[in-house]
């Protein structure tokens, strides 16, 4: 399974791509695989505040509903709107086309406890056992 080196990961299986104060958020390949076919996604609007560790949205697959947890606190500056009509994009391309929101982080220290790619891969392995 692919966990890009340049991303940071939560233990709830979101990824964060950090560029300055801008943090783009999505779910990992492992998450989309566990969920199965994603058929619905509920995301916040531009301007909404999200809080680290709290739910900012929902993904639903044919099997299950799953909350999305924010890896950082901040203001939503961009939302991947095409996902609402094509949620399957998250399955097909979780790290690029399947991104969900971009947040302007209020405190980059929020990122300190996220996992690197190697540690996340280990975490996934342990969770599967």
């Amino acid at each position: 399974m692919n966990f890009p080196e340049d991303l940071k990961y939560t233990r709830e299986h979101e990824w964060a791509r950090v560029k300055g104060k801008r943090v783009v958020v999505g779910i990992t390949e492992f998450a989309q695989d566990q969920l199965g076919d994603i058929v619905y996604v509920e995301l916040p609007s531009v301007g909404d505040e999200v809080k680290k560790g709290e739910a900012f949205g929902v993904v639903e697959s044919t099997k299950a509903v799953s909350d999305l947890f924010a890896p950082v606190s901040g203001k939503v500056v961009e939302v991947n709107d095409p996902l609402s009509d094509a949620p399957e994009t998250i399955n097909e391309d979780p790290y690029e086309e399947g991104w969900m929101i971009a947040v302007e982080a209020s405190d980059l220290k929020d990122l300190d406890d996220l996992l690197g790619a190697k540690d996340y891969a280990k975490f996934v392995e342990e969770e599967q056992e």
Binding site: G36, D37, Y40, E42, V58, T62, K63, V65, E88
Partner: protein, 361 residues
């Protein structure tokens, strides 16, 4: 530990994702639920449904004894025919919904839901009061379901039995890929198809032959996920979700399998009384007109307060809309009526629609 069907190893080897369902380790999906769903609607899919149970009634009074425990009427079908209906309690509550295969008036097979194997067997045996021999043969049968418009093409290549003239809800004994089976033109998907009952030791041989021969028809092995979305599109009830011991078949919209004019059967008095008094709630099909997916257990809201609950819901892969079944007060049950579903705190608008949601053309 969860129970395993004779095809467990085959599923694991073919990369299925296994989940526990009704005490069984079952494949929930192979390639993906949407892809499997689509395969059954347009081509052909193969399901392992060996977790289903089989209870057999035998003896000179088998038919009348079983008919007394059954809401539908077994005297109205011929030998070689199957019939859907409910087993009810005296209260009218549903013990299970079943398909009964009438091999003869002295020999009938009741196909029961996996979770209810033991409950149904005890219920039927106790209810029979020694008037018929009642046997739990659940462990003696494996069951495969071959479903989809091309199912008959696959079967024609594997069986010398004339299946083209086998009508819906008819069955016969024959051979498929050299395996002696009961071949029934039944299913739980809303498509043409067959359900095959065979000895557990032969299940793997039968599965592999169907997969191999089905390859030219682009057959897909299918799991319980697709089975659920397929059945919901045609509004087939799922026991344990859409009904249980506390709901009657009339409330569940199954009046068509309740023959109140036939001789006495368990639950008849209660069901007659309920019919005369009027139903307290009705199971209806609905489509969401707001975004979201309604799930089992979500509240139905009328004027802001809870008036009912969703029993099944999904995004219909074929229709591309959110559909579901819900119990609502009779005043909200007419087609076109609107209500709301509480989706995690958000009131999503829904409209009562005709079922089945999907009909094959």
């Amino acid at each position: 530990m969860a129970l395993r069907t004779p095809l467990y190893d085959v599923h694991v080897r073919s990369g299925a994702r296994m989940v526990e369902f009704a005490g069984w380790d079952m494949p929930v999906q192979y390639a993906g639920i949407l892809e499997e769903h689509q395969a059954v609607r347009t081509r052909v899919g193969l399901f392992d449904v060996s977790h289903m149970g089989e209870v057999v009634f035998r003896g000179p009074r088998a038919l009348e004894t079983l008919n007394r425990a059954f809401s539908n009427d077994l005297t109205r079908i011929a030998d070689g025919q199957a019939q859907y209906g409910c087993l009810c309690r005296e209260s009218g509550g549903v013990v299970d919904d079943v398909v009964i295969y009438r091999r003869s008036a002295q020999d009938l097979l009741v196909c029961v839901n996996a979770a209810n194997r033991q409950k149904d067997f005890e219920w039927l045996r106790d209810g029979a009061r020694g008037q018929a021999e009642v046997a739990n043969e659940s462990d003696d049968w494996a069951q495969l379901a071959l479903q989809g418009p091309r199912a008959r093409i696959v079967m024609a290549q594997l069986s010398r039995t004339d299946l083209a003239s086998l009508k819906p809800f008819r069955f016969l004994n024959g051979e498929v890929a050299g395996v002696a089976c009961t071949i029934a033109r039944t299913g739980y998907t809303g498509e043409d198809g067959f359900e095959l009952f065979c000895p557990p030791g032969q299940a793997q041989k039968l599965w592999e032959a169907l997969m191999e021969t089905g390859a030219s028809e682009e057959i897909a092995p299918c799991g319980l996920g697709a089975r659920d979305s397929l059945r919901l599109e045609v509004a087939y009830r799922l026991y344990g979700s859409d009904m249980d011991d506390s709901t009657t078949p009339l409330e569940a919209g199954l009046a068509w399998v309740v023959k109140l004019e036939k001789d006495d059967f368990v639950g008849k008095a209660a069901l007659l009384a309920q019919k005369q008094k009027g139903l307290p709630r009705k199971l209806v099909g609905f489509a969401l007109t707001d975004p979201g997916i309604a799930r089992h257990g979500y509240d139905v809201l009328g004027a802001g307060t809870k008036v009912g609950s969703v029993t099944s819901g999904t995004r219909s892969p074929t229709l591309k809309i959110s559909i579901g079944l819900a119990y609502v007060p009779p005043a909200l049950a007419a087609e076109g009526t609107t209500f709301a579903v509480d989706i995690r705190g958000r009131a999503a608008a829904a409209k009562v629609v005709k079922t089945p949601f999907y009909t094959r053309t």
